[in-house]
């Protein structure tokens, strides 16, 4: 293949855009898995649930899917809080979190998928938007709105959550809860309350990612499977508990996938991306971007 600078540039730019979506998809997991140590294997399925909820609201009201998604955020926040209560009561408190908790989320994933296919049928669902087909290309570089919107949603969503973690007292407590529960008790904060809030945020971000997913591609109940490996890989590459780290890892992951797809052939992009993860785990298990 002849070297074409436009091709490389596009591979990188599209990879960054894709990475933006991955960052949003991973952000909730960074909270659940990285900070709370909850191995929520069902996270991508919650994203799909968010997409279907957005789809249903859009069909019912005719509102723009992104607006629908925003309306749904509080619902998912509450759902997350309730969910954590169940998880805490039946698994974490009993000390069975590791293996049983994992299987629990597997079960949840299964139930959510089957329920969605019962309600919506096995078909793909999608939402028509006026901007879906627009490309704000600059010169030879493609900037499809379909990929830009998730990126922007990622920036706003992750930015807001990061700001919350950095600037508010409760937010700092969330960031600390994974590292030292005892310290929180000392300052008279109930760790359970904090964890519940954090898991609520995790599902809120999942719903936001769901809205974005619906813009990116048609969604079926099993669409989450595509992302399980990716989001966990990105979370670990990013050093687990770091929002900034998972951002950077997501961008790197997107760029690697798309550059590989462009030059080596798309067939090899998962192998290259996951090979990188395996290598990272073997050599630097604390993640590429851990501080």
């Amino acid at each position: 293949m002849v070297f074409d600078p436009g091709l490389l540039l596009n591979a990188i730019v599209s990879g960054l855009l894709l990475g933006g979506f991955y960052a949003l998809a991973t952000s909730g997991l960074t909270i659940a898995f990285g900070m709370l140590d909850v191995v929520n294997i069902a996270h991508p399925t919650f994203i799909v649930l968010g997409a279907f909820a957005t789809f249903a609201l859009n069909q019912a009201t005719g509102l723009d899917p992104i607006l629908c998604c925003l309306i749904l955020l509080p619902v998912f926040f509450l759902l997350g809080r309730g969910f954590y209560d169940v998880y805490y009561r039946f698994f974490e408190r009993r000390g069975d979190a590791a293996i049983q908790g994992l299987a629990f989320f597997f079960g949840v994933m299964f139930v959510v998928e089957v329920s969605l296919s019962l309600i919506f049928g096995p078909n793909h669902q999608h939402v028509e938007t006026p901007y879906a087909w627009t490309n704000l290309g600059i010169g030879p570089v493609d900037l499809p709105v379909r990929m830009l919107i998730p990126c922007a949603m990622a920036a706003v969503g992750i930015g807001a959550v990061t700001l919350f973690f950095r600037t508010t007292f409760i937010g700092r407590a969330v960031a600390a809860v994974g590292q030292d529960e005892g310290a929180l008790r000392l300052v008279a904060i109930d760790p359970l309350k904090i964890k519940r809030l954090a898991f609520g945020l995790s599902l809120l971000l999942a719903a936001l990612a769901g809205g974005a997913l619906l813009v990116v591609q048609p969604v079926d109940p099993w669409a989450g499977h595509t992302f399980i490996g990716r989001v966990f890989a990105i979370c670990i590459l990013g050093g687990l508990a770091s929002m900034r780290g998972s951002w950077m890892a997501a961008l790197l992951f997107g760029v690697i996938e798309n550059v590989t797809a462009t030059y080596l052939g798309p067939s090899w992009s998962p192998a290259v991306a996951f090979g990188l993860l395996l290598l990272t785990l073997a050599v630097r298990p604390q993640g590429l971007f851990a501080r």
Partner: protein, 420 residues
């Protein structure tokens, strides 16, 4: 000793539960006027469920019709089917259950190769007639003389699949010189793309891009970009619905230019896909099995669609793709059994090899491998699509048939240019 006893209890107990649960203890019904049982596995959950359910709907329409007409050779008909969960590994169990336990009289396949292949050794061993649905070039491996294939691809499906595309491409002026091939990493797409490359020897075409992509691909922009950079005259895709959608979006977003674009995409045949993509499919050239063009007005097809569409809730709203194929299988079965006059697998197979059947997809004749003796895949160009409405696709004109010549209903519009 304690453990040993518990263990043996457990084993025997579970064997009994298994036997009871699988319905082995129920004595077989034997009454006069006993229904003719037609058995099959079908994908009712999992990835292939939308097509599997559409197929089932068409088969049930036939079941109602035939029982309304007083049954088959005087006996009522009953469909016996189990969900294979879109998973081939469940098929051997289901097929043996159908044959051994349910004692079905006639056997059909589930949807597509993955559901057919695992059934083959069993079917061969039991010497059953086997009508299959969308199995791609299956019998070349088994060479079973009671296999009959419902896919209008002809005896050399791998190659025949892309024949129309290349034939039509060759009619353009100037003649195309290069081709890009993109396929999904899966059984059918890989075979179809290999078949295309075999065909190329006949044409003076250079392959300038040839890549496959994994089913987990999210972003198709890099693929289309790389295709565009190779500047091919023809672009041939073999893909499944989600990735077909992703590819078509990317084609528009990149603004891909070529003389002819399309090929072996799966998805555009389905109504919900047509409304999802709408005008984005304009001028794409894609294979098909049935479209409502005047040249394809086979007897019964309109009636079938009229019955199917009202019950398509949650399924393909048009039903052009799988339902006619599934229904045609039933028609063939009906005609063969009626003419032979009894359920005799050998006689049925012999009759089916020897005769031509009239179906909603036109006349079907099988060759000695059980494939259609006359390859009849359509090549369709999407034209004049406005907006995302469903009704326009029920009318002639939006899906012009370019190939085969006997059904031609429109002219090729080229070159292909995707508006950004």
């Amino acid at each position: 000793m304690m453990k040993f006893t518990r263990r043996s209890l457990l084993a025997t107990g579970s064997a009994m539960v298994l036997a009871a649960g699988l319905g082995l203890s129920a004595p077989a019904l034997a009454q006069s006027g006993e229904p003719i049982k037609i058995g099959f596995s079908m994908a009712l959950t999992g990835g292939l469920a939308s097509n599997g359910k559409a197929a089932l709907a068409a088969m049930q329409i036939w079941e109602e019709e035939i029982n309304g007409r007083g049954g088959l050779i005087g006996r009522p008909v009953k469909l016996v089917y189990y969900d294979d969960q879109s998973n081939g590994a469940t098929v051997p169990g289901i097929v043996t259950k159908l044959i051994d336990v349910d004692k079905v009289d006639l056997l059909l396949s589930g949807y597509s190769t993955a559901a057919i292949a695992p059934a083959m050794p069993i079917v061969i061993q039991k010497k059953m007639v086997f009508l299959t649905l969308l199995g791609f070039n299956m019998n070349s491996e088994f060479k079973y003389d009671r296999y009959f294939s419902m896919i209008p691809a002809g005896s050399d499906a791998n190659r025949d699949f892309s024949k129309g595309f290349l034939e039509v491409a060759a009619t353009m002026d100037p003649k195309p010189k290069s081709i890009a091939v993109v396929n999904l990493d899966a059984e059918f797409p890989k075979r179809a793309s290999d078949g295309l490359k075999d065909n190329l020897k006949k044409y003076d075409l250079k392959v300038v891009y040839d890549q496959s992509y994994p089913p987990t691909t999210v972003d198709f922009l890099p693929i289309i970009r790389a295709v565009a950079a190779a500047k091919p005259d023809l672009v041939y895709f073999v893909s499944y619905p989600v990735d077909s959608a992703g590819l078509i979006r990317a084609i528009r977003e990149v603004g891909l230019k070529a003389m002819m674009v399309g090929g072996g995409m799966v998805g555009p045949q389905i109504g919900s896909f047509k409304t999802m993509m709408g005008p984005a499919m304009n001028n794409m050239v894609i294979w098909d099995t049935y479209v409502p063009e005047k040249t394809l007005n086979f007897p019964g097809i309109q009636e079938l669609l009229a019955k199917y569409q009202p019950r398509s809730q949650g399924l393909d709203p048009l039903g052009f793709y799988v339902p006619p194929l599934a229904y045609a299988n039933m028609q063939i079965l009906e005609q063969a059994v009626t003419k032979v006059g009894k359920i005799d697998q050998g006689a049925l197979a012999e009759y089916m090899h020897a005769n031509t059947f009239s179906t909603v997809l036109g006349d079907v004749k099988f060759d000695k491998m059980g494939e259609w003796s006359q390859e009849r895949l359509l090549l369709v160009q999407y034209q004049n699509i406005n907006g995302n409405g469903l009704e326009q696709f029920k009318q002639p004109g939006t899906q012009a048939i370019l190939y085969p010549p006997q059904y031609k209903s429109g002219n090729l519009v080229y070159p292909f240019e995707a508006k950004r």
